[in-house]
Amino acid sequence: MTDISEAFVTALHLLVSFDPNLIEIVGLSLRVSLSAVALAVLIGLPVGAALALFKFPGKNAIVVFVNALMGLPPVVVGLVVYLMLSRAGPLGVFGLLFTPGAMIAAQAILVTPIVAALTRQVVADLWVEYSEQMRSMGAGPVSAIPALLYDARFTLVTAILAGFGRASAEVGAVMIVGGNIDHVTRVMTTAIALEVSKGDLALALGLGIVLITISLGINAATYTVKQRAEAVWT
């Protein structure tokens, strides 16, 4: 018991003294997850909007597929990205394996379906309501896309926050494709896994506190955005 409370005190000390090791890990985690979310938004918003607005053969299958991808296990994504990026894999020449780039790619694959699926849902619902009015004002589905994304902005922000939550909390994918190399690819979740297995609880606890804070922050932001949207716009 004293072990744990000692570790907790040390953890707090690491946090308030901005321990360089801890800061480096947190910084890399944020860099990787934010980059992955940015990529996911770049791909997921247009894909989601296109799935919502256009009819094409195989569309329903793609919608089901994208929805299913939302629940993809991170370790499976890690494994697939590993196979793609490994020396013998199709993308092996880029030498990305065990770099932050590989981790960004893996997390982007985890987050993109969330952004795409939720974008599709909210844009499709809006389009049911808006399409006749938009057409009457002279806008077809393509020219209406910016307006639809703008009017769906609150829901989209919550989707993006959910994506960031998934990216920053997952451990399986970054562990496999990043390798948890000190000073190179060590992020919060992989560091926690390692430190706990080594029996060094202080750093693990410190990072755990940061992760919980981020998670709380995401939920608070989501709640605030929803409240505001419901109060003002719907």
Partner: protein, 258 residues
């Protein structure tokens, strides 16, 4: 009536109006519309000339809203065609019309932004838009709501906003689907005044209503639709004094069964 024109685009709009021929007349040729395996609009033909206010009357489910949508170009006819005689072949005639729906559809933005967006779609330059927005809001009595979320307005105010948004784009033809259906007498009067003003400015009015007193006050001609067919198209005073079809007579008596 020139002073009733939204300010900032007066010059360009009147210029474009004189530069282009009117898109009228509208010819509806043998138009049918099928959905769900049923013929809902059944071989309808009529012609609307520039000028008068046309009221489309008929019982619930007769096909009035569908007919408006077919004319406006929101629905594609299953048979026949809708021809705007004055439109040039390479333009979308829909851009020169507007429609106010039975249930107003407002964007999740402020009142002013709703109008601004319609102006943007009509290629009004950004610098000219605020003037038009202010003007149209003043004329419709909505100025104090300019910065409110549009969907916070009451039903009547939302209907006025839908009308203001249509007005701002200076349509040559305005279709209105029961624009006063859920309004109190004062709001009904206000909406009727706006429609009259637009008519005075040269906008061709085509609307439906279940308010026969309103139709008597404002209609110049009546198209009576029953079970998806046009039973008559008559000058309004004639329609109300001596309708040609038995169905129209029964409708006016309030005895028509659907």
């Amino acid at each position: 009536m020139n002073d009733a024109t939204p300010r900032a685009t007066t010059a360009d709009a009147s210029m474009s109006r004189t530069a282009r021929a009117s898109i009228m007349p509208l010819r509806v040729e043998d138009v049918s519309f099928d959905a769900g395996g049923k013929r809902l609009v059944d071989h309808v033909s009529f012609e609307l000339a520039a000028g008068p206010r046309t009221f489309i009357l008929g019982p619930n489910g007769a096909g009035k809203s569908l007919t408006l949508r077919l004319c406006h170009g929101l629905l594609t006819p299953s048979t026949g065609r809708v021809v705007w005689e004055g439109a040039s072949p390479n333009e979308d005639p829909l851009k020169r019309q507007a429609m106010v729906f039975q249930r107003p559809v407002l964007l999740r933005r402020t009142v002013a932004q709703n109008i601004d967006y319609a102006l943007k779609l009509h290629n009004v330059p950004p610098a000219d838009r605020p003037g038009v927005v202010d003007d149209v809001l003043n004329r419709t009595g909505l100025a104090r709501f300019a910065k409110s979320p549009a969907r916070h307005l009451s039903g009547g105010e939302q209907q006025k906003l839908a009308l203001a948004r249509a007005w701002a784009t200076k349509p040559e033809v305005l279709f209105l689907d029961e624009p006063t259906a859920s309004l109190d007498p004062a709001a009904t009067h206000a909406v009727e005044n706006i429609i009259d003003t637009m008519h005075g400015e040269g906008t061709r009015i085509v609307m439906t209503t279940h308010d026969l007193a309103q139709a008597k006050r404002h209609a110049d001609e009546v198209i009576f639709i029953y079970a998806g067919r046009v039973l008559e198209k008559t000058p309004a005073d004639e329609f109300f004094s001596s309708p040609r079809s038995g169905e129209a007579a029964a409708f006016l008596e309030g005895e028509l069964r659907w």
